[in-house]
């Protein structure tokens, strides 16, 4: 299959190809998600090398369990969930050494309320996130920094949409307070 052909395929279609015809095509899934997943793992773990390990391990687990993936679901939510689990395992193992990396880059937005928060997050990410509890850090980083919908966040974090909404709203308040303090 040509490179351009496979590029136009959805994740789920590639999964089907990998499962049934050509395992080498798994590389396209790795390429699509590698950077995003490392960035997400980095928000959670705070260490680039460990985030890298978590993502590598997650891809290996995803490949091993690829036949267990339900093609009706979104591959992105599934792989984020695996990375999330790997990251949480690493955090659990290494709680004391968690630091947020200051070298993360983000996109900036326009001057709306949402984008104000995003802007604040961009400018003071490491400091703001460092002070947030993990239960708030997870959904807010997925929502603002990974542009995931509430439903996708629910799928990744295994939470009802209502809980996701509540946590994001609380996280916004906490984030605002933390960022305001940072600015002062």
């Amino acid at each position: 299959m040509k490179h351009s052909e496979i590029k136009s395929k959805t994740d789920e279609e590639i999964v089907e190809i990998v499962r049934n015809y050509n395992k080498e095509q798994f590389v396209y899934l790795v390429r699509r998600y590698e950077d995003k997943l490392i960035r997400y793992a980095q928000y959670l773990i705070g260490d680039y090398d460990k985030a890298n390990d978590a993502v590598q391990q997650a891809f290996i687990k995803a490949y091993i369990n690829l036949n267990g993936f339900d093609l009706k679901k979104k591959f992105s939510s599934w792989i984020y969930r695996i990375v999330h689990n790997e990251a949480i395992n690493l955090i659990g193992k290494d709680k004391k050494t968690v630091i947020i990396n200051p070298d993360i880059d983000f996109d900036s937005g326009e001057n709306t309320e949402e984008d104000y928060l995003k802007g604040e997050l961009v400018a003071h990410t490491h400091e703001c996130l460092k002070k947030m509890a993990l239960i708030y850090r997870e959904p807010i980083s997925l929502y603002y920094l990974e542009n995931k919908s509430y439903k996708e966040i629910g799928d990744i974090l295994r939470l009802p949409i209502g809980t996701v909404s509540v946590r994001i709203n609380r996280a916004k308040v906490i984030l605002k307070k933390i960022c305001e303090k940072q600015i002062k």
Partner: protein
């Protein structure tokens, strides 16, 4: 992101896949897993209902009445409610694996399951099925030997047996 430090995980992963170091688990593994987990869930709920029913049945026959609790606890086969709780916990654990479980409030799922088990157990107890099960059939072995009771609508004291 620090591009300079970026480790090429793509090559590492693909090397492992192409060299056969890591292999996909076959489809039957997941099909079997789903079937076993469904059987386990159904079985644990049925078992939880049965042992809850047995607990209710024994409580009904033995008391508890005021002043008799310690005597009742002495003679009560405590392993029966423990097994009921064990199967309930196993059922909850298996239920957690299903997709719908995290979309709902899990506390409500637990409470609903608990209520359903309790009501089902109570219905079985009131229908008098324990009389049949305690006297014949493969279930007989699960009833404590000295408790082959006849169904009675009112509790009987342990002294009145």
């Amino acid at each position: 992101m620090r591009k300079t430090n970026k480790i090429n995980i793509e090559n590492k992963i693909m090397d492992k896949i192409l060299s056969g170091e890591i292999k996909m688990k076959p489809k039957w593994y997941f099909v079997l897993g789903s079937i076993l987990s469904f059987i386990g869930l159904t079985g644990s709920i049925v078992a939880a209902i049965f042992f809850t029913n047995l607990t209710l049945f024994l409580i009904r026959k033995r008391g508890p009445g005021t002043g008799r609790i310690i005597t009742m606890l002495d003679a009560f086969p405590i392993w029966i409610p423990i097994i009921a709780v064990g199967f309930f916990v196993l059922g909850i654990w298996l239920l957690k694996k299903y997709d719908f479980s995290y979309r709902k409030n899990f506390l409500i799922i637990i409470l609903t399951l608990f209520t359903a088990i309790f009501i089902s157990a109570q219905i079985i107890n009131l229908l008098g099925l324990n009389d049949i099960w305690s006297q014949r059939g493969p279930m007989r072995r699960l009833y404590p030997r000295d408790h082959t009771y006849k169904y009675q609508p009112y509790p009987r004291t342990i002294y009145g047996r």
